[in-house]
């Protein structure tokens, strides 16, 4: 009996940790709420309420326990962790994991770093830029310039973000650098079409995940999360646009 109905404080902690990891790694808001309520339900608390926004989670279970709140300040994209937490929640539902085991597992997931090494990410970003150039009907001659511009732009984004911690400014700098490199290639005669090179290289910065999440949240009835994610996506797009616009306006 003791194991089947664990302390409710522990359940709250477990749910909040799961929710925190998922939200920080870019899961949709409704999925976060759903996962938390499912975990609580399978640990013997049928009535629980969670309120998730992109910047914080409030979770309460019926009864005398106070509601708890977690602030989320840093959000990245790490779909692997989302999958892992999803797996843990499945195992809790099927009874394979007790709440203590699940808590240990979640803490492991939280502290671990599963991201690809930076150089692999940069390579991926440059290859993606080159491929996008060809998909948008660019010429083969522009493949290498787009590859380089995209790679350098992404590198700028990652490192500027580490120093400044202001996402919009790092995106602005990155797209500015991309524009500058593309312009340099074209004026040196190596690249042909400035527009195509810039479009291709900017693609790794485009807020695709935010847009899809915003829509799915809006449709699931999470109006606040949907709107604020939409605003974030819009600001990101605006930052990228401004960075490139500065280059075009100057030359």
């Amino acid at each position: 009996m003791e194991n089947k109905f664990p302390q409710s404080i522990e359940v709250i902690e477990l749910c909040l940790l799961a929710g925190k990891i998922m939200l920080q790694c870019g899961a949709e808001t409704y999925r976060v709420e759903d996962t938390m309520i499912r975990i609580a339900a399978s640990l013997g608390i049928p009535e629980s309420h969670s309120y998730v926004t992109p910047t914080g989670i409030i979770f309460s279970i019926d009864g005398t326990e106070p509601a708890k709140f977690i602030r989320i300040s840093e959000r990245t994209t790490d779909l692997y962790k989302v999958t892992l937490v999803n797996g843990v929640s499945r195992k809790i539902s099927s009874g394979e994991l007790t709440s203590q085991q699940a808590l240990i597992r979640l803490k492991e997931i939280q502290s671990a770093d599963f991201t690809f090494p930076i150089y692999q990410q940069i390579i991926a970003a440059s290859i993606a830029s080159g491929c996008f150039l060809l998909m948008f009907l660019g010429q083969w001659a522009d493949f290498i310039p787009a590859l380089i511009a995209g790679g350098v732009g992404f590198t700028c984004f990652v490192y500027v973000h580490r120093i400044l911690k202001v996402k919009f400014f790092s995106e602005f700098i990155a797209s500015f650098v991309i524009g500058a490199i593309a312009f340099l290639f074209v004026s040196l005669g190596i690249g042909q079409e400035l527009d195509k090179i810039i479009i291709g290289s900017v693609m790794p910065l485009v807020p695709g995940l935010l847009i899809t999440n915003a829509v799915r949240d809006l449709m699931a009835g999470h109006l606040i999360s949907g709107l604020s994610k939409g605003a974030e996506a819009f600001l990101t797009a605006f930052a990228i646009g401004t960075g490139v616009a500065v280059i075009i306006a100057f030359f």
Binding site: R31, D78, N86, Q121, M135, D195, V206, I211, M219, I248
Partner: protein, 142 residues
Amino acid sequence: MIVHVITSFIASAAFGVLFNAPKKSIIKCGLVGMTGWVVYILLVNNEYEAVVASLIAAVVIAVISHIFARIYKTPVIIFSVSGIIPLVPGGLAYDAMRHFVVDDYNVAVQLAAKAFMISGAIAVGLVISEVLYQLILKMKVK
């Protein structure tokens, strides 16, 4: 056409790497993105409007993502996100912005409206397949 197939596969897979999708799903991300882009290109080449083409491609992507998510027991978002990326109207948005910068507001607003319509179409496509999925689930329960 072959160039489109290969590049869209590689680009979507590369986005899988950027979003740190599980290593096993990266190839599948590429497949989803490739299918969506091929559908889009085929429709556009057959003189369909870009908005309609984006809508249909988004539905296809979301349906495949749901199927994959069901088979491999992973969240849908992994597949749909990398699949959607190629459809995002980055080129149009760029053109619009470029015209804004050179004070050509008439063309700029037109292009921006079109980019907005395409984003809306992608969103509606995702929603349609979501609704279909929920319907099928409900029918199965009955």
